[in-house]
Amino acid sequence: MISSLKKSLESTFKGVAVKEPEDGSISVLAPKDSLPVVIRYLKDNGLHHLALLSCLDWPERGKFEVVYVLSCYMPSNTDYAPDQRLHVFVKTEVPREHPALQSVIDVFENAEPYEREIHELFGVHFAGHPRLTPLFLERHYEIPPFRKDFDTRQYVAETFDPIPPVDE
């Protein structure tokens, strides 16, 4: 299944690079414009589960790397074959200046809180998301706090340290 998926992905989409399979997982580098189509294609080909949506910050490359982890549900035990165990990592890069992506909620509904979280903590905008409102954070941060250029120690020194203790 893995090798056929690799072949069909490379022949169907232009600009999609598929790395060599490793331990039942393959990683797909997709340009950001064709990302929703690739995700939709993978879902139609048996990867029914979006396990995780994550983001990485590469300041020296000037990119955010958004990672979609897809997996397929196990077939029932009787017809289980080891080569059907499959994870697919779909990676796409967005520039750090005005990062924006197309939302995949219409394909995977459970991407909604993940996208909201990444928008809050990295500042990546997801076009088509119904409510990109704060999810976890209480305060407003000038730089989203999970970016590499967010200096936590300086933030602590500016925010928490000036608060005086209450004298007894």
Partner: protein, 190 residues
């Protein structure tokens, strides 16, 4: 009942009753809450010490902060603390409420709990064992006996300072002050 305590009971029954019936607010924050179910259930059985977990802050008088306090949790803690009836006692559990612990440089957790609400006792450790809770409680008994567990009186007296610290962090808290700010200090500390 220990017969040697009889004199204390006759002298100040209210204080003794408070001391031996601590009702802990079942408020969960951070990782320390994992130690509380064994404390209140059969293995260590906190009811030996008169501690029971209650559902709402309006029935409780012991507030245990069990772990790191994020900003959102702090807001809930302040609201919960202000709803508890007097006399009320706060015990901070674990090293994170003391000075931040391993979250000392985190962007989203407060470092010193006693800047925002008064704390009567600290249980250090990461994590403290359930036995440490009972040692903390017996220390709290001593403090109550001596009248030194006075966090709720301090909160009333220094309310302006506590409120100022809370507002430095949150801006507008979203609810009016608990005590009027022009209350004279000697009148408040009754």
């Amino acid at each position: 009942m220990d017969r040697s305590h009889l004199a204390k009971w006759l002298k100040s029954p209210a204080k003794m009753a408070n001391k031996y019936s601590l009702h802990a607010v079942y408020f969960c924050t951070g990782c320390g809450i994992i130690e509380i179910p064994p404390v209140i259930t059969a293995r260590w059985d906190a009811e030996r010490f008169g501690i029971k977990a209650v559902a709402t802050p309006r029935q409780g008088n012991l507030f245990m902060i069990t772990g790191y306090v994020s900003l959102k949790t702090l807001k809930a803690i302040i609201r919960t603390y202000e709803q508890m009836p007097d006399p009320k006692y706060t015990v901070a559990f674990g090293s994170c409420p003391i000075n931040g612990g391993m979250y000392w440089d985190s962007y989203n957790t407060i470092k010193h709990l006693d800047k925002y609400i008064p704390v009567d006792g600290w249980i250090a450790g990461c994590m403290p064992r359930p036995e440490a809770v009972f040692i903390g409680v017996t220390h709290l008994w001593t403090l109550i006996d001596k009248g030194k567990a006075d966090g709720y009186i301090r909160y009333q007296k220094k309310y302006a300072a506590y409120r100022r610290n809370q507002e430095m962090l949150f801006g507008d808290l979203g609810w009016p002050p608990l005590y009027p700010s022009d209350i004279p200090a000697e009148e408040a500390g009754a």
